[in-house]
Amino acid sequence: MNNFFKTSLSAIMFVVAVAAVGTSCKKKFDAPPAEAPAVSMTANTTIAQLKARHTVSGAIDKIDSGSDIIIRGIVIGDDRSGNLYKTIVIQDTTGGMAVLINGTNLYTSYPIGREVFIKCNNLYLSDYSNQIQLGGGIQAGSAPALADISTSTINNVIFKGTFNNVVTPKDVTPAQLGTSMQDKYQNTLIRISNAQFRTADTASTYASAGIISPSAASYDLEYCANISSPAGLANIELRTSNYSNFAATALPNGNGTITAIYTLYRTFKQLTIRDASDVKFTGPRCGFTPPPTGTVLLNENFESVTTTGTTPIALAGWKNIGPTAGTSYLGKTFSGNKYAQVSAFNSTVSQQLPTVKSWLITPVLNMNTTTNEKLTFGTIDGFNNGATLKVYYSTDYTGGADPTTSTWTQLTATIASGTTTGYAPAFVGSGNVSLGSITGPAVYIAFVYEGGYSPSAKTTTYQIDNVLVVGD
């Protein structure tokens, strides 16, 4: 046995030694170095000069030159979010260009901020309904179309430069954006301020994720020259692909800046965002009057009310007077915001009142110590079929259960209107309702709802929030 172990030990030593000397197959790999940027390249042509080669919409122009035509640009749009597909957009100081590449996840090579050089000789220029594009060939078919640049040859065409170059978007107004194919803003990064979505759209999402046809959603933008002026259509659509990873994100309902790539579809102006973070609509909407400042006489946001949905509001100092509990002002909540709601509606026919007049009266206000008082509040109307909400004040009301015996004078305020189905998406500002001419130690302000089922149903629902009275 001893002999056996000696022999086998030496045999094993031998095999290990021979085999180990033979070679070592353990594969070890160094991390390769980072690619050096294409520093030796220099542009000899601007993007505007290149674009000028394409003059006839729909034509496919081969870039055929005796010498190299090299443009340089910074990537301003990639496909990271999926909103662009097989396309990157680059720009230099003279203009921008969409570059069609036959590949996906292009951002892995050409992320936003990367400098690229493109050798354009033998590439093709065309346009998609006026949006100029650079491609790699002509796609055969019944109608010839511009083909993408092939990924197999791309490294001989597009040369990668440095990362993280910052392109500052150009601040423009919608009117400054032209609709000609050669417009200098086309395919460049622009920024529009005081923009917003239409109120009717603010309940929507950027696009319809999962829907294949049509594959994108478009929303008109509204715009106002300054925030206090009313909104008007900007004549620009925001177009977003259903394949983008923010397709299911809700459109913001505020107002603010939008940074986007400006594109054209025929003569329609379009914007393409890289990501939902390009839209910063967080401020108040057009037509917004900033809340008045000064001494606060009353500030009620209804956040302390009980919101069972059937409980009449009972706030200290306030009077809530309606024909029945259900037609009084009720505490309600939506998306975490609480407010007062009133309606004559009742689905049970026997309980439908012919007339409903409901009062919500503020606590007593002393208007002798301040001047130039202003009232602001917000309203939402829903299923509007003609019932009214009006605002009054009284100097002789004493806080009793029957306000009709006092003198009430109507105030002029903007009240939400026109929402015949569903509810207005956001509270409509009343505007600054001037109370400056009113004096007295005991002034009351009342919201008066009038509706009912006789002679015809007037059962509009109104919601009231953020009742504010300030004075100097």
């Binding site: 086998s8 070679t23 197959c25 790999f29 991390a31 690619e35 060939g137 990924t151 999962g210």
Partner: protein
């Protein structure tokens, strides 16, 4: 992409030419004493070759064969069958399968325990690869087809028994080296066996290393060690206790299959899409690793001169794994992805330019590792709520490409006992009991972040499809947004547990001119899934233990042999069995959930064979006809469909096959030492049912569709006809030469069920060219090969009288595919996708692999 086992197995047969006719063998009473002449030189030659056959990974997902070489050894030691001898060796170049059967129709026993795995029924040959020195032909027995065996009930295709106990080995020391140009180039082996000493101990030890910096195919490499040790102790004159343990830690860079288009551009049929240059060095993305030690204890008890009881228990544990690229919202890194190839370009100029670029730039034809690293270097991003901790933001280089390692960890325990007794001179009875238990743990782990700092455990497909559902994209709801580093498990993690108990009994009756036997087996199989992660898409069906799936099965077989006129035999065997489905074919998508096929049931297999054989000193001949029917088989195919942009599972049921054919083998001694041999296998192996497909997508629990597959009369993809003709000359001077010409015909490509549906031919005129293009099965070209082997055994004592111990130097040389035919399609499959829109069959062409050109194996061994 697909994971599919049984369709693509590489069932290669190898039959050792153990008794090739060296009649000068004079083994003494103790058969472990080194014989006067070396009888094993032919078997050595061929075993070496079969140990080094090409293994093509059919798809990067087929990690089932992590190490298993999927070759089925049917040893012909016992019956010297002239057909099997040819079929085993000469036919393996085209992946010939005996009677067209899948690998799960064959079983293998070692030292008393069944070796085939319970997950798919394959014998894991890789676990003892490189240990040919201790798995010698004379210690093998086999029962071909439905023959009775004394060592176990066996499988319908055939059963093989290998005895690797120490005392069974030649009492010798053997040192050998061989050189080849196949998977590995070098092999070095040392084996030492003692035989029993005076105290009743026997020892044997063997070690080898097989390696290649680069194998026959570009980008492949091989590094395998093999260790074996065996100890026996005679407890008494009648009882022996034995222990063997072996382990084969192996790592190899694999070869993948690909499409003709890129093969033509690359200018070689041996194009390998798995490798690419990294820093100027070839790196293979598909590296298989395997380490699964095996131990067997055997108790051999000769109860009486008429009865024996062999009892054995085994345990094995360890991992098999393969690496593959994984990517997250990044371009497909595989160079042969169809959208990158010239054929995908519509514009002829672009097509030409792409073609040129592929020709000129090896980094387009192969994986561009440097490019992948650079993408990761520059992708800095921030993960919100990382590791499920609100407000925990992790920033850094998030890898978009990684190398993942798909691991299968196995633990298996077997217990088996076999009793044999002769009741009288006419009746032998054998019986046995087996218990097998196996647990496989399937998971992925991060192998290399390729220049990035972390990866995230998210399902990018669910992330895209279920934007509104914040948790659907989580691979593990218990640990959301997990930041992954090298070595971390991710993706999926589940166990499959399988238990099988069986009992059998067999009666054999012998008379002078007639023998018959009857045997029956009853078995009980249970399997279940246990999920270790809670998948965001299937939170209620992915975590924890699934329902049990139980199957009770039986198997009957019997046969009769009539001997007449001295050396003529007529025989007939038949069998009927029910068999539990393998779990791999039962679960629709076990990676994410525990759903199984509808109406999961046992398959039914019936077979009958009849034949004639003649055994004389001059002529050996056997001719057999057989008929086999498979009913109610199931299978699951999985592939990535870029239309729905997700993994699609095709659960196939009602698979039926009919195998009918004949086998003929003959050997004729024409002159002293010169034998002519001929073999033919002529069969028709065809599907005989329309299969039902239940189609599901990994991202939803809905059933997408239920399709009827018009699969009737399609061919099982193995050569239906194979022929071999040759001669063998052995000189009295201890050398031999063996040359064979082989011919293969009626070979068919594996077919894609999607193309045999009414949806695939909707709108196509029946009988039109396109219609035929879509539904017809592709026939492969007929092929010729020529193989030659030669060897010489030099008894050194004769030449050098000073050498006292008997010593041999054995030289062997074998050449396969002598004519260097590089166009032999040895296998392939239609991609599991179809262009339903344009009915263009060339959009997803078949993937094929080719047999190597001329290869050789030269070895020298010193035995003393």
């Amino acid at each position: 992409m697909l994971t599919n086992k049984s369709r693509f197995i590489t069932l290669l047969l190898c039959v050792s030419l153990s008794q090739a006719g060296f009649s000068q063998v004079k083994a003494g009473k103790d058969s472990t004493v080194l014989p006067l002449s070396d009888t094993s030189i032919v078997e050595d030659n061929k075993d070496n070759l079969l140990d080094n056959i090409p293994i093509v990974s059919l798809d990067e997902n087929d990690n089932q064969d992590g190490s298993a070489q999927n070759l089925s050894v049917i040893s012909t030691n016992a019956n010297r069958d002239p057909f099997l001898r040819a079929a085993s060796f000469n036919f393996n170049v085209v992946r010939f399968r005996l009677r067209g059967y899948d690998a799960d129709m064959f079983s293998t026993y070692m030292n008393g325990v069944p070796m085939e795995t319970l997950d798919n029924g394959f014998t894991p040959f890789g676990l003892w690869g490189g240990l040919n020195d201790v798995i010698v032909a004379r210690n093998r027995q086999n029962a071909y087809s439905m023959q009775a065996a004394s060592f176990g009930f066996g499988s319908m295709g055939g059963s093989n028994y290998m005895d690797t106990r120490a005392f069974k080995q030649f009492k010798q020391t053997k040192i050998s080296y061989s050189l080849s140009n196949r998977n590995f180039v070098h092999k070095f082996a040392v084996t030492k066996s003692t035989g029993f000493d005076k105290k009743g101990w026997a020892f044997s030890i063997s070690a080898s290393r097989r390696w290649a910096e680069e194998g026959f195919t570009d980008g492949t490499y091989y590094d395998g060690w093999s260790f074996y040790t065996g100890v026996d102790k005679k407890l008494s004159s009648r009882q022996t206790l034995s222990f063997v343990a072996f382990a084969t830690p192996t790592e190899n860079g694999r070869q993948g299959s690909s499409v003709d288009e890129i093969r033509e551009i690359a200018g070689t049929n041996f194009y390998n899409p798995y490798w690419g240059y990294q820093n100027g060095k070839k790196r293979n993305a598909s590296v298989a690793k395997s380490f699964q030690p095996f131990g067997i204890i055997t108790h051999d008890w000769k109860i009486s001169p008429k009865s024996t009881l062999l009892t054995a228990a085994s345990y094995t544990f360890g991992n098999r794994s393969t690496t593959a690229l994984d990517w997250y919202n990044a371009p497909d890194p595989r160079p042969d992805y169809y959208r990158y190839l010239p054929s995908y370009a519509l514009d002829p100029n672009e097509k030409a330019a792409t073609n040129l670029a592929f020709l000129e730039n090896v980094n387009l034809r192969q994986i561009n590792w440097d490019g992948l690293y650079n993408v990761n270097y520059n992708n800095v991003s921030t993960i919100a709520n990382a590791n499920g901790v609100a407000g925990n933001n992790v920033s850094g280089r998030r890898s978009l490409y990684i190398l993942e390692e798909r691991v299968i960890g196995t633990k298996r325990t077997n217990f088996n006992t076999t009793y044999n007794t002769s009741v009288n001179k006419h009746v032998d009875i054998a019986a046995g009991l087996t218990y097998e238990s196996q647990r496989n743990n399937y998971y992925k782990k991060v192998n290399d972040l390729l220049g990035g700092v972390f990866y995230v455990d998210l399902n990018q497909f669910a992330e895209r499809d279920f934007q509104a559902n914040g948790t659907a994209a989580q691979n593990d709801l218990n640990r959301p947004n997990r930041i992954l580093r090298v070595g971390d498990k991710f993706g999926y993690d589940y166990d499959i547990n399988i238990q099988k108990t069986s009992a059998w009994v067999q009666t054999a009756v012998k008379f002078h001119s007639i023998n018959f036997f009857l045997a029956g087996e009853h078995s009980f199989t249970r399997f279940w899934r246990h999920g270790n992660v809670k998948n965001g898409l299937f939170p209620n069906n992915s975590f924890g233990r699934s329902a049990n799936h139980d199957f009770a099965n039986y198997y009957f077989k019997g046969g009769i042999t009539w001997k007449f006129a001295g050396s003529h035999y007529l025989f007939m065997n038949g069998s009927y069995q029910t068999r539990a489905p393998f779990f791999e074919n039962s679960y629709l998508a076990p990676r994410t959930r525990d759903f199984v096929q509808d109406d999961l049931k046992s398959e039914k297999i019936s077979s009958i064979e009849a034949g004639y054989s003649l055994v004389t000193p001059i002529v050996k001949l056997r001719a057999t006809a057989y008929y086999t029917e498979f009913k109610d088989q199931v299978n699951v195919l999985t592939f990535y469909d870029d239309v729905v942009r997700n993994f699609v599972n095709y659960a196939l049921s009602n698979i039926g096959k009919k195998h009918i054919g004949a086998e003929i083998g003959a050997e004729v001694l024409v002159y002293k030492g010169l034998t002519l041999n001929a073999a033919a296998s002529i069969g028709r192996f065809r599907y005989n049912t329309r299969q039902n497909a239940t189609v599901t997508v990994d991202n939803t629990s809905e059933i997408v569709s239920r399709d009827l597959i018009y699969s009737k009369d399609f061919y099982v993809p193995t050569p239906q006809e194979a022929y071999s003709l040759g001669f063998n000359y052995r000189s009295p001077k201890f050398w031999y030469l063996n040359v064979n010409v082989n011919y293969f015909d009626q070979m068919w490509l594996d077919f894609n069920p999607l193309r045999r549906t009414s949806e695939a031919v909707a709108g196509v005129a029946e009988g039109s060219y396109v219609w035929h293009q879509i539904i017809d099965q592709t026939k492969l070209k007929r092929q010729f090969t020529v193989d030659a082997f030669a060897g010489y055994s030099w008894l050194l004592n004769k030449s050098f009288k000073s050498i006292k111990t008997r010593s041999f130097l054995v030289f062997n040389f074998g050449v396969t595919n002598l004519l260097n035919n590089k166009n032999i399609v040895s296998g392939g499959f239609e991609q599991l996708r179809f262009d339903f829109q344009d009915k263009n069959v060339d959009k997803f062409p078949a993937k094929k692999f080719y047999a190597y050109g001329t290869t050789f194996n030269a070895s020298i061994a010193y035995r003393f």
